[in-house]
């Protein structure tokens, strides 16, 4: 496929090496692919960190605004540097491992959780060209790594050797496992409608009549309902309020990360925001047209209909659309958190098994009929 992120990186390296008089073509191919992949993954890692940093700040500001108070506003303009100050504080904190904990598993657990949260970023498309790996299994791959997160959380809960941690870990694992079912059903709705699992192709399919060719309107009642099923299931999977039973502070202190402090705690925190972003970005890609603009180009540019942006500009516009949609959906998650109280455990099971799963099955059957008829 021409013009992927790897090609762009390779082009940049090639140009840079040519400037100092080296021929990049003489480097073996596997090394070139490996180097490009490594740089792309490092870029995504940086992006995850920035997203988590930004939303760590935004969460507190939004909470402040919603509760009619200030939020962080001292460090830097609008308190923007607050999180950087916090990061410095956390870096110099003492790293505590409880004496009765299983030391190896205690250290391994946050890494596993973060691996599971980070793996889907590799297939998220930011524009037609900006995608790290154009896997044909795309969305299936993205959802599969939630399994690593589940195991990591159980590991954290068990290795802490603490009742609250274990209960929190068990709660989260049960919740994530059960909400994978409606999530999978909602994804299948889209897969049936578009006939692909590749995220880039799914977005390319939604091109055309601005929002009316997006999947939520294209497969109208089914994908529209499926989007809510997917988003709610994702919310539960990323343990956000109103589904934050695994860290319900009034019952089990802080759940599975009660014993964690310093950088290890921050890795859990980072994973939570990474999962939130993945759920939001997948919702945008699967249902909301990915990098396609919500307004027709005529309105956007005031010019002629057949205006074509250059490759760089269209990548930037696509990226802006994609990130804008994802950030809006993440903002909705913050909105939920500061609006709704926590649900009870029987309500969580009720919502999954008696509302979302039947809804997902109805959507899937409806979309299959749609795909046959249309």
């Amino acid at each position: 496929m021409p013009g992927t992120l790897t090609d762009i990186i390779n082009f940049v390296i090639q140009t840079a090496l040519a400037l100092v008089g080296l021929d990049y073509a003489r480097v073996p191919e596997m090394l070139r692919i490996g180097a490009a992949m490594l740089i792309a993954c490092a870029a995504m890692l940086g992006y995850v960190a920035v997203v988590a940093l930004f939303f760590g700040w935004a969460e507190r500001r939004v909470a402040g605004r919603m509760q009619a108070r200030q939020g962080p506003n001292i460090v830097g303009p609008f308190g923007l540097l607050q999180l950087i100050a916090d990061a410095v504080k956390i870096l110099v904190k003492e790293d505590i491992i409880p004496q009765t904990a299983h030391r190896f598993l205690f250290r391994l657990a946050p890494i596993l959780v973060f691996m599971g949260a980070f793996a889907p970023f590799v297939v998220l498309p930011f524009s037609e060209t900006l995608v790290v790996s154009n896997l044909s299994l795309g969305v299936y791959y993205a959802l599969s790594f939630a399994a690593l997160e589940v195991v990591g959380v159980i590991m954290a809960g068990w290795a802490s050797n603490n009742k609250w941690s274990l209960y929190g870990g068990m709660r989260l694992a049960a919740q994530m496992m059960s909400y994978e079912i409606p999530m999978g059903l909602a994804v299948l709705t889209v897969a049936v409608l578009s006939g692909h699992l590749n995220l880039r192709t799914i977005v390319l399919d939604q091109q055309g009549h601005w929002i009316f060719s997006w999947n939520i309107f294209r497969g109208f009642p089914w994908a529209f309902l499926g989007m809510f099923a997917f988003y709610l299931a994702g919310l539960a999977g990323s343990k956000r309020t109103p589904f934050d039973l695994p860290e319900a502070e009034s019952e089990i202190v802080a759940g599975y990360h009660t014993e964690y402090s310093g950088m290890r705690f921050v890795i859990f925190y980072l994973s939570e925001y990474a999962t939130m972003y993945v759920v939001s970005a997948l919702t945008a890609v699967l249902f909301l047209g990915g990098w396609h603009a919500p307004i027709p180009r005529v309105l956007a540019w005031g010019g002629e209909v057949h205006w074509e942006a250059g490759p760089v500009l269209s990548a930037l516009i696509g990226m802006a659309n994609m990130i804008g949609k994802s950030f809006f959906l993440m903002f909705v998650m913050l909105w939920f958190r500061w609006t709704y109280p926590r649900v009870r455990v029987d309500q969580i099971v009720y919502l999954c098994m008696k509302v979302l799963v039947p809804l997902g099955i109805i959507c899937l059957i409806g979309a299959s009929v749609w795909a046959l008829v249309l």
């Binding site: 596997m30 299994l137 791959y141 195991v151 994978e180």
Partner: protein
């Protein structure tokens, strides 16, 4: 460095991970440690599938074995036994039986490989096994596929029936 060398490096890395984690699974006296080591065994096998170009199988391995079976094992162990460390019940007799069973499985695998895939060339380089797999499952192997899904559905309904409430 050619493609073969890189593949060989990845292969030996995965093989080392597989052997070490398998040894922990078999010889560890703590069932929980064995369970967590099983995670790396399963991931290494998924890595082998990916290395062989069977991408769908690799992802399915992670979903089914790590996300399903391993988590169920952990649930079973952590919810039913006292917290700290659980000692295994392996005796000398268990080891003999395990060695015998292992030898039998190995012999079976050798026979299967020699009978069915002897002398066949490796499949040509392909983008993804997804489309071919879908066509086969809904074409040539439709009946076994549907039969398996009906069996699973029956098992699901049976499980729901077994755990239903009797008080009304």
């Amino acid at each position: 460095m050619s493609a073969e060398v890189v593949q060989a490096i990845i292969f030996y890395f995965l093989a080392a991970m597989l052997v070490v984690s398998c040894a922990i699974v078999v010889f560890s006296y703590s069932i929980v440690n064995a369970c967590f080591a099983l995670l790396f065994t399963l991931l290494a096998v998924a890595g082998f599938y990916a290395l062989l170009g069977a991408d769908f199988l690799a992802v399915t391995q992670v979903v089914v074995y790590v996300g399903g079976i391993l988590v169920l094992l952990l649930f079973g162990i952590l919810l039913t036994s006292p917290l700290p460390v659980i000692l295994g019940v392996a005796t000398r007799r268990t080891y003999y039986l395990a060695v015998a069973a292992g030898a039998a499985v190995f012999a079976l695998l050798v026979i299967i490989v020699r009978a069915f895939w002897a002398g066949q060339p490796a499949p040509a380089e392909q983008q993804s096994s997804l489309e071919a797999l879908g066509t086969l499952l809904l074409g040539k192997y439709l009946f076994p596929f549907e039969f398996a899904s009906l069996t699973l559905l029956a098992a699901l309904i049976g499980a729901a029936y077994l755990v239903r409430r009797n008080d009304h």
